[in-house]
Symmetry: C2
Subunit: 203 residues, 2 copies
Amino acid sequence: MPSTDTRTGPDARAVVTSEAVLDTALTLFAQRGYHGTALSQIAEILGIRTPSLYNHMRSKQELLETIVRQTLDHVLADFHAAVKGTDDPVVQLREATRVYALRHATHRREALIVNRDTTSLPEPALTAMRQRRREHERAIRSVIARGIESGTFAVGNAGLASFAILEMSVSIARWFREDGPRTAEQVADEYAEFALRIVRYRP
Amino acid sequence: MPSTDTRTGPDARAVVTSEAVLDTALTLFAQRGYHGTALSQIAEILGIRTPSLYNHMRSKQELLETIVRQTLDHVLADFHAAVKGTDDPVVQLREATRVYALRHATHRREALIVNRDTTSLPEPALTAMRQRRREHERAIRSVIARGIESGTFAVGNAGLASFAILEMSVSIARWFREDGPRTAEQVADEYAEFALRIVRYRP
DNA sequence: CTCGCTCCCTAGCGAGCGTTAGTCAGTGGG
DNA sequence: CCCACTGACTAACGCTCGCTAGGGAGCGAG
């Protein structure tokens, strides 16, 4: 949440941090998209004029790049932590899906921006970010492939299954509400179960 | 594909139809997003100047609205045709998923635009389009709910499952290639099978 | 007290946007 | 043959965009 000054009145003067700028950008980019958001809108919410934003950031593009890079790094870190403890494809796929789904429920704005606006990044950032996503997808795919090899999973094509699992999780960011009937953890558990069903793991 | 004049040379004069404008908009909106696309880019591809576009359309917004409305209408028509012949939830869910997935493979550009840029529509079109999507989602959900009631499906929550099934299908538009290893029909069949697995239908 | 730093402000630049108005060349039908 | 229509053009509009320059108020440290 943007931390503005507590003073009010005619000569109230907002005091803004770079975290507040990033947070507001997060909200607006998620709502209207990167190209659909003007810096003036970010500034207005923070209670300052547009040029003052430049005390806290270098450019609009840098804002987007920061958001995307941080998010993808977290996703990869989540994944590696999730699969670390075991070699069992069942546990690995369940855990990898669970943390991925959980992140999309708890960090909805970041997820929406990454999925909608990554392509608006300039090169070379675009290629770097695409590579991070591919890395994650390939890792999931190889977990499924090992499960197929060992006869634990029964699915025609590991690639198709990995796409389906990843993208159904991404969608959580679109509909999940914190004040809804289910907690983020409950939803993540359900989706982890869906993932195992897709690869037809029968306990 | 844009149908331009066959003449070439220094004084070649492009001749453009409104279908060609829509088609080019489809390609660019899908590639760069609605806000990320300028009319000048559409005009350049068609080989005309920007103002000439107005001989074939009313506004940029109208282009987007046409794309979204047509696509969602086709999705709903697909669905109703798919479930018409039977009351069996298994067949209905498989067919509904199959035609939805198939459309996302064969009409990738439309699907990408609907999913990314629907929120850029002005009211009241936005509400109308959201309602069409909800209608579709609710219809899928009720198929699943009937399957649960009859004991054919075993899944905790029909809503969660319907979201997962719909959104994994949407993702096809992101990776499918016509010249890839699988045909659109094959992919659609696989995803229809995934849908039944998610609701744990055991043949 | 005062110096220097932080961070806001106003003013303004240059570019690009979607859109309108008005013009003119080519084409097909009477 | 000519006239109306189609569909391109140039010119220009008002607006918004991201961003820069330069100035000044408030605050903490010495």
